[in-house]
Subunit: 176 residues, 2 copies
Amino acid sequence: MESAVRMAGTLGPRAGWRAERCSIAAALEVIGARSSFLILREAFYGTSRFDDFARRAGISEPVTAARLRELVAHGLLEREPYREPGQLTRERYRLTRMGIELFPALAALLQWGDRWLEGVGGVELRHQECGERAGIELRCDAGHTVGPGELELAARRRDAPGARPATHDQKEAGDV
Amino acid sequence: MESAVRMAGTLGPRAGWRAERCSIAAALEVIGARSSFLILREAFYGTSRFDDFARRAGISEPVTAARLRELVAHGLLEREPYREPGQLTRERYRLTRMGIELFPALAALLQWGDRWLEGVGGVELRHQECGERAGIELRCDAGHTVGPGELELAARRRDAPGARPATHDQKEAGDV
DNA sequence: CCGTATCCACAACGATACTG
DNA sequence: CAGTATCGTTGTGGATACGG
């Protein structure tokens, strides 16, 4: 195969947008450091306190502090004071909606590592309500499962909404 | 919400596996560098030649060479001599199956950046065959769309196959 | 066109020690 | 418990120059 993604119309010739406007590059500006991924991983596992982040993610305190600060500044985490009875007031970090919606990216890496790398894995995701295994998938709005080779890259249409809403499916039946 | 992912049974107490066996950490060992992501992005866009990688991804030749070498060594790309009529034999880089299956991770970052970051985006994925917009989704084997908050993390069952199998069959032929 | 060699800058990170 | 301060090391990457 020559390429996993076919270029459509307007995009092919113009390559400059890649560096300037590429969402992937921009996302990497925010979470590009390895420790950012690991911090987020822990956040998804439910970690919320400073030293738990450091210990479980296996990174040093100074780095932990720097990453948490960045992630809060970028809006993926929020800091919140809390207090257990009889204890001092402490800080806790929680995922915002923006942070939560990054989960599919982590899940994709998890799935890929599980499938292709040796000696890792042994964990799986399940849908809480029905107990079935869950994972990420490429799908189109018509409901088809899409292989990576069946994709086409296109400039966004003017009538399309800002971005693909991440959580709820808005299915336009009738095609297919 | 306290955590995006609920821990199930055996996993909670044991946190050590995170560092040692975590597929995410292992994946980041392979593609953790920013330039690796950018190289892969270009590969998905169809780039196959050395200086196109360097120019389009916006990274210097030495770094390009280093990343390509790593990605080939890890099995995500393969090097292949080719020859256009009347030209010298040149090298070309192509995604392997292992590399192609990383696409969902890139797509997830793309979608997230598109949705949450300012001033980027304007590109969308479409299903080639039906023309509908495509994107990644969390789904369970029962067919439900799963919100990031409806997940549960569990140790893999013994009877389950190695990893979540890729959901499509890739056609391997079809060269330029 | 496809790289390598060399050098340099800076970011990322760990280790250690210390503070409120 | 939740950090900060300091230091040294390694990784990442740009610039430049050069060779197959």
